[in-house]
């Protein structure tokens, strides 16, 4: 119906578009402008989960069992809710240890075991080749249907010769795509931005195509959902598809949910897009609701299409092809072409990502460990190219294997049956992966035993019967058992029947897998490296990368030797760059002959792990590192310490925050104390200095008097006068020191009462009138006629005024000295100004003159006349009385000292 050349051109054109998108994605990534770095693209890339099994197979499944197809998508919905918990942990572990595949993850968790990594790889390849075959089958079949003149009903799969089979060319094209965008260079993170961009685009295409065809069937061919359902309900064989109990048992529903939960987490392609290609774990926030929404949408029209197909075709057409057959039968070639492209998207997306993931596993966990064992290769140069070559060969081999499987074996099996066999195979990784993630006691031997037991059970109960279906083994085998031993019958092991094959297989294989893993883990011990890895994995969320990670690498080697190993994978330039980068971060010595420290060894190992897997990286590093084995006791000590430390670390974190706060407070208090201490020392030394000066002159004059008893009275008087003056000054100084000390210690009794400041000012000026006369300084009083009383101790205010007046006289102009005292009322306060016409207080001194023993003027030039305590005492007194004392800010000649006192509250009368 659609000419072959059109289909070919559209298909090739579509793949060309993918190439373009992937190319652009890689270019953008190189330029540092990632297009895939957002949650929506991340969610879309994870939608690679929906393969052609979803696209075509869901309808086929729904046509057989009603909503029995749904658990395959409900399982992921359940898992997605705990993505933030589980997947984030996995992402973190992988990012830290540069783990790039599922096999590597399992190998790393159980002591970087090459054996376990290899086993996981073999199981994955074994389980997934049929799944890849399924996609090729879908491409081939739909291609045939689309171009077949005879119509959809007659589309015998595999009837075309091998060389004319579209599946072969699809496989080769996909191999080319995967090689170009999946294995271009060896990268330590194994991220492929271009490929992810293409996959996200494919997810969009398949969703749109499926929604379009679904809406067309529902609203075009029929009259909405209820119309289809109503018509189906009239036919008994279709009516039973509307409920679950008549078609699929609840037990099957349960097991399918479990199966798809595990597969969704553990399928290599899901691991690749969700873990390895994850750019930022915050994208999980968006993807956690966007991805299930995608699944919901792509499943919305499955039941209508299935019922519609059955209503229109009955049993004439394979239900797996309804999606395509309906537009074909209706004569809508364009819509059919759109459906085909959507199906192509679903199939190619899965094949591309799955083969990349598997090729990484095969090269890193299977081939490299084997190659590295043979000495010749381990010593060769440029192993990086070898790794890439291995991956490319693997990709081609996988696709050809898939094609071969499809040609030989898939005729007899439906899409869903093949898919479920693959799901059940990868589900066997669950105990090792999830157990290893949350149970420290899981050991290498346990994981090994569980995996082997599980996969053997899977092989016996699912794979073997599928061979019977393909006609390779007797048809009766699944029910009657091999050699007629009924207890071993694959569909009723040990006589357990009544379950469908998948539930039966899951039940037994999980029982065997978990059982052996737990039993063997508990029975045996673990090697030191296993214990460390167990702790690293289980405590991943609580534990920042730290020195503890390298604790087991107590080896010695030189930087040069490590560089040699690194060069063979990333080239000399890359190796130098990596080491220089490390040196820049840690300031370590990375000269050729320098000893490499444990951290550097670990760093190089993790770089290599990105390229060849953890197990191989370990083996490679150990070729140049002479390791000193750690004793078990030592390891246990480290681990015990580490786990105790971790247990307390959270509490400690909280405590340390509190402590920090407290210590900041203490520091502040301490600084204050130190300052006070310094001040006290200063004070004591200044006081003694001030005491010494008068004492020196008293002593000098007294000695003169003693040595010269015959001095005449006038001369004698001239010497006695200073002695008396100096003694007075001493007395004053001591009194003031005591006064200040008492004030500061709060030992002064205050006699507070309403005081009229005019009286105090008058008293003070009268008291100092003698002084004014001596210096010939004019005094000017500016007193208001009415003034409210202030609350104060009048004696103390008197003392302050005397001091201020004394200062004013002292500094007033020697020629025409003038001092003005003013009183004024301001908001709730009375202000007293004492103004002189002296030189004024320089700005730099305005603050310090209130410090003890700091006097105005140049103390070196003229001998200070005061004690240097007057102003500090005055300020202390005024402060105690609830006022302020300051010096005016006005520049130029003349200084104004002002103080305020609070107005007394008049009692209401």
């Amino acid at each position: 119906m659609v000419p072959t050349w059109v289909v070919v051109v559209v298909s090739v054109g579509y793949l060309g578009l993918l190439f373009a998108i992937a190319y652009a994605g890689d270019r953008r990534a190189l330029a540092g402008r990632s297009i895939i770095s957002n949650g929506a693209i991340y969610a879309l890339s994870i939608a690679v989960y929906a393969t052609s099994w979803t696209y075509y197979g869901s309808v086929g499944s729904a046509a057989e069992g009603g909503i029995a197809w749904l658990p395959i998508y409900l399982g992921p919905m359940v898992v997605v809710t705990v993505w933030w918990v589980v997947l984030r942990k996995i992402i973190r572990i992988c990012r830290r240890d540069r783990i790039t595949s599922l096999a590597d993850f399992v190998a790393s968790r159980y002591g970087k075991s090459q054996l376990l990594g290899g086993l996981v790889t073999v199981i994955a390849v074994l389980g997934l080749v049929p799944y890849i075959a399924l996609q090729l089958k879908a491409i081939s079949t739909t291609f045939t249907i689309l171009r077949d003149e005879a119509g959809p009903a007659a589309a015998p799969v595999g009837s075309v010769p091998v060389l004319q089979d579209t599946g072969l060319y699809a496989a080769l094209l996909l191999a080319a795509f995967t090689i170009v965008f999946g294995t271009r260079h060896l990268d330590a993170t194994e991220r492929h931005e271009g490929m992810v961009a293409a996959i996200a685009f494919e997810s969009l295409v398949k969703l749109v195509a499926f929604l379009v065809v679904g809406a067309w069937v529902t609203f075009g061919l029929f009259d909405g959902f209820s119309d289809i359902v109503a018509r189906a309900a009239e036919r008994p064989e279709l009516a039973e598809l509307l409920t679950l109990r008549t078609t699929t048992g609840y037990g099957t529903f349960f097991w399918l949910t479990v199966l798809s939960m595990l597969a969704f987490l553990l399928l290599p392609r899901q691991w690749q897009v969700a873990v390895v290609e994850n750019v930022d774990e915050q994208h999980l926030r968006t993807a956690s609701w966007l991805f299930p929404l995608y699944l919901l949408l792509i499943n919305l029209f499955v039941l209508p299409i299935a019922l519609g197909g059955l209503l229109i075709f009955g049993d004439d057409v394979d239900a797996d092809t309804f999606v395509l057959a309906l537009p074909m039968a209706d004569g809508s070639p364009l819509l059919a072409l759109l459906v085909f492209v959507g199906g192509l998207s679903a199939a190619t997306g899965m094949v591309i990502v799955e083969t990349i993931a598997l090729s990484t596993m095969v090269s890193n966990s299977l081939v490299m460990p084997l190659l590295l064992r043979s000495r010749g290769i381990a010593g060769g140069r440029d192993l990086g190219r070898l790794v890439l070559l291995v991956r490319r060969v693997t990709i081609v081999a996988l696709l050809l294997l898939g094609f071969a499987y499809f040609r030989i074996a898939t005729d007899a099996l439906g899409l869903v049956q093949i898919g479920l066999i693959s799901f059940a195979a990868v589900a066997q990784f669950a105990p090792a992966v999830l157990g290893g993630l949350y149970w420290k006691g899981a050991t290498h031997a346990g994981a090994m035993a569980g995996l082997v037991a599980g996969i053997l059970t899977w092989g016996h109960t699912l794979l073997l019967p599928s061979f019977s279906d393909s006609g390779w083994l007797p048809r009766s085998l699944p029910v009657e058992g091999p050699f007629g031993i009924e207890l071993l019958a694959p569909y009723a092991l040990l006589g357990l029947d009544g379950l469908d094959p998948v539930s039966h297989a899951m039940l037994w294989s999980m029982l065997a897998n978990v059982g052996f893993m737990v039993a063997v883990s508990l029975a045996g011990g673990a090697r030191p490296v296993e214990r460390v890895q167990a702790a690293v994995f289980v405590d991943a969320m609580r534990r920042p990368r730290g020195p503890g990670d390298t604790v087991l690498l107590r080896g010695t080697t030189t930087v040069g030797a490590l560089q040699g190993v690194l060069e063979r994978f990333v080239g000399p330039g890359g190796a130098r760059e990596a080491l220089d980068g490390y040196a820049a971060r840690t300031a370590a010595d990375v000269g050729q002959d320098a000893d490499a420290d444990a951290d550097l060894i670990h760093h190089v190992e993790s770089l290599l792990a990105g390229a060849v897997g953890t197990a191989s990286a370990r083996a490679l590093v150990s070729t140049v590192v002479t390791e000193e084995p750690l004793g078990m006791d030592e390891v246990m000590e480290i681990l015990d310490e580490a786990s105790q430390v971790r247990a307390y670390s959270q509490a400690l974190e909280r405590k340390s925050a509190e402590l920090e706060e407290a210590s900041a407070e203490l520091r502040r208090a301490n600084e204050q104390l130190q300052e006070l201490d310094r001040l006290k020392d200063d004070f004591v030394s200044t006081v003694t200095h001030e005491l010494r000066t008068p004492l020196t002159s008293i002593r000098a004059f007294s000695e003169i008097l003693l040595d010269n008893p015959d001095l005449d009275p006038d001369e004698r008087h001239g010497f006695l006068r200073p002695i008396v003056d100096e003694t007075e000054r001493l007395t004053r100084l001591i009194n003031q020191v005591l006064d200040l000390a008492k004030l500061e210690a709060g030992g002064v009794e205050w006699h507070l009462a309403p005081v009229d400041l005019r009286e105090v000012v008058t008293a003070a000026t009268t008291a100092s009138a003698q002084l004014f006369r001596e210096r010939d300084v004019a005094l000017e009083l500016d007193l208001p006629t009415t003034l409210p009383d202030v609350t104060a101790d009048s004696d103390r205010v008197f003392q302050v005024l005397l001091n201020l007046l004394g200062n004013a006289v002292k500094f007033a102009d020697p020629e025409r000295g003038r001092v003005r005292v003013g009183l004024s009322v301001h908001a709730g306060e009375v202000q007293v100004d004492v103004e002189d016409n002296g030189p004024g207080v320089p700005e730099a001194e305005r603050k310090v003159i209130f410090d003890k023993f700091r006097q105005g003027g140049d103390t070196h030039r003229d001998r200070p006349a005061g004690t240097g305590l007057g102003l500090p005492i005055s300020r202390e007194i005024i402060g105690r009385l609830g006022g302020r004392l300051w010096v005016g800010e006005r520049p130029g000649p003349g200084a104004t000292f002002s103080f305020t006192l609070p107005i007394a509250r008049t009692e209401p009368s």
């Binding site: 749904l70 898992v79 809710t81 959902f225 359902v229």
Partner: protein, 63 residues
Amino acid sequence: MSGRPTNARLVALAAAAFALFNYPLLAVFDTDALVLGLPLVWVYVLAVWTLLIVLVGLTLRDR
């Protein structure tokens, strides 16, 4: 440490999802009844599904 209640909520949601999608709750809605012309069990599953998407989205929305 605001991650702890989030984690607990998500685990609880997952448990609820698993329970809601399985026997016996599923069986309760698995009848011949039609809602708006659609099979009850189908409507039930889609409704739970939508609810879960909303709840997960709310739990994980950026703060």
